[in-house]
């Protein structure tokens, strides 16, 4: 296997230039797809025969919930890379993605709660899935809080790597435990796990908005990483040139 891309990615300069090319494109393509998906879903897809129009929030809820989980997984991997290969870029990645992930987890909770009120008659139940998203949100807050709390860059980088890695090991355990906990104790009143068999015209817009959100968020994260890289490498010659040429 050819590892050069891996080592290249480790170089802040290479990453910066690569991201300059791609971040903007990702954001715009993502935004476009997201818009298509959401407008299609909200305005044109048929209403659900049980839930009526309230189900349309799914076009926000599900992509956001999926992304919230994916972000943490990515952070956990980056944490491993940071600890084992000491790659400079990995902590930057964690720092940037953590905020995106936290926002997504928060929106997932919020949209779920808003959806829950009309369908279940309550904002919240202690269901396995809901609980694990809540814990996920707290894990994100932990990563963000520790990195804000530590002044020392080297320590802060190690700390977020440790927290991300430990958290990601625990995520499946948490998921498994809450599922097991709630099904043993309280036969779930509301099952989220059984997918409503969805007709194509409901499912396609969902696919669009999910894909769009992923690309959009990737682009945003890359932007954040670029800023962070500039801040950290402010002494390097290439950064000075970069800043000069941007005329800032």
């Amino acid at each position: 296997m050819n590892w050069t891309w891996f080592h290249k990615l480790g170089s802040p300069k290479w990453f910066y230039q690569w991201a300059s090319k791609w971040a903007g494109k990702l954001v715009w393509i993502g935004l476009l797809l997201l818009l298509i998906g959401v407008v299609w879903g909200l305005a044109f897809a048929p209403a659900d025969y049980q839930q009526g129009n309230s189900f349309r929030i799914i076009y926000i809820h599900v992509p956001v919930a999926m992304l919230a989980q994916s972000c943490y997984l990515a952070m956990g991997i980056a944490g491993f890379v940071a600890l084992v290969w000491q790659m400079k870029l990995a902590p930057v990645f964690i720092k940037s993605v953590a905020v995106v992930g936290a926002v997504m987890a928060f929106i997932a909770l919020l949209s779920g709660a808003i959806w829950g009120k009309p369908t279940w008659g309550t904002w919240w139940v202690w269901d396995a899935r809901l609980t694990s998203v809540l814990v996920l949100f707290l894990l994100y807050m932990g990563v963000i809080a520790i990195q804000n709390a530590l002044d020392d860059q080297v320590f802060a980088d190690k700390a977020v790597a440790v927290v991300s890695l430990v958290g990601v090991i625990n995520l499946p355990i948490i998921k498994y435990s809450v599922e097991w906990w709630n099904t043993l104790h309280q036969p779930a009143t509301f099952r989220l796990t059984e997918k409503p068999s969805m007709p194509m015209e409901m499912w396609l817009p969902l696919l669009f908005s999910a894909l769009g959100l992923y690309l959009f968020s990737a682009g945003i994260a890359m932007w954040r990483m670029q800023t962070e890289v500039l801040k950290r490498e402010r002494k390097a010659n290439w950064v000075k040139q970069e800043v000069m040429s941007d005329g800032i």
């Binding site: 807050m141 932990g142 520790i146 090991i169 435990s177």
Partner: protein, 220 residues
């Protein structure tokens, strides 16, 4: 410094402040008292909730006990000496946690039968409660050590530490209370207890290494 002298000194320090041990126990007692007072003192309410209350109280006591685990070592320069000693920091962490665990959990387990009575926990489930504590608390201590190391350089890191480690405590608490509930329903508990033991073993393998990394990063 070697491992034996380190463990002896840790143990001695803990003994010197033995009122602290007693206090971890008393904190445990207080949480257990607070709950009936604040919520509902009837046995119909307490008996089924007893296992959960005991575990929540334990988790909070352990948190209190490990919260400042390395703070003093950081302030008085001991962490620098650990690193300079050339010994494995992971092993030192493990020894420190072991000393702390013995000091906190032994009195707590001894007092448990009486306290369980106050929450109307049926005698038949007492053994399961004790087993779950024995198997589960090592994980709590070890995870707590990671949080303590991460927040060691912060002046008031206690709350941040809670935020970091409570999500990791949740699975332990869920399986432990699950075992107790199963015991109260006369169901088999060996499955859950095995999971608890597995968690402690995983924590034993990973947590000291993570803690050592954090400690190393904190010295600068």
């Amino acid at each position: 410094m070697n491992y034996t002298s380190f463990f002896k000194a840790e143990w001695l320090s803990l003994l010197r402040r033995k009122q602290d041990t007693l206090n971890a126990l008393l904190f445990f007692v207080m949480v257990i008292t607070l709950f009936p007072l604040g919520v509902d003192p009837s046995s119909e309410f307490l008996a089924p909730a007893a296992g959960g209350i005991i575990w929540c109280a334990t988790a909070l006591s352990v948190l209190m006990a490990v919260e400042g685990l390395f703070k003093e070592d950081f302030n008085d320069g001991s962490l620098e000496q650990w690193l300079a000693s050339g010994l494995s920091v992971s092993v030192l962490v493990l020894l420190k946690v072991l000393a702390q665990w013995l000091m906190v959990m032994v009195p707590l387990l001894l007092a448990l039968p009486v306290l369980a009575q106050m929450l109307f926990l049926p005698w038949s489930s007492l053994l399961t409660v004790m087993g779950s504590l024995l198997l589960g608390t090592p994980a709590l201590f070890l995870i707590g050590a990671i949080g303590a190391a991460l927040t060691v350089s912060l002046r008031r890191g206690a709350v941040l530490m809670l935020l970091l480690i409570l999500p990791l405590y949740i699975p332990v608490i869920i399986f432990a209370t699950g075992a107790i509930r199963a015991a109260q329903l006369q169901m088999s508990v060996s499955g859950q207890l095995a999971i608890l033991a597995a968690m402690s073993i995983v924590a034993l393998a990973l947590a000291p290494v993570m803690t050592a990394i954090s400690i190393k990063a904190s010295v600068n």
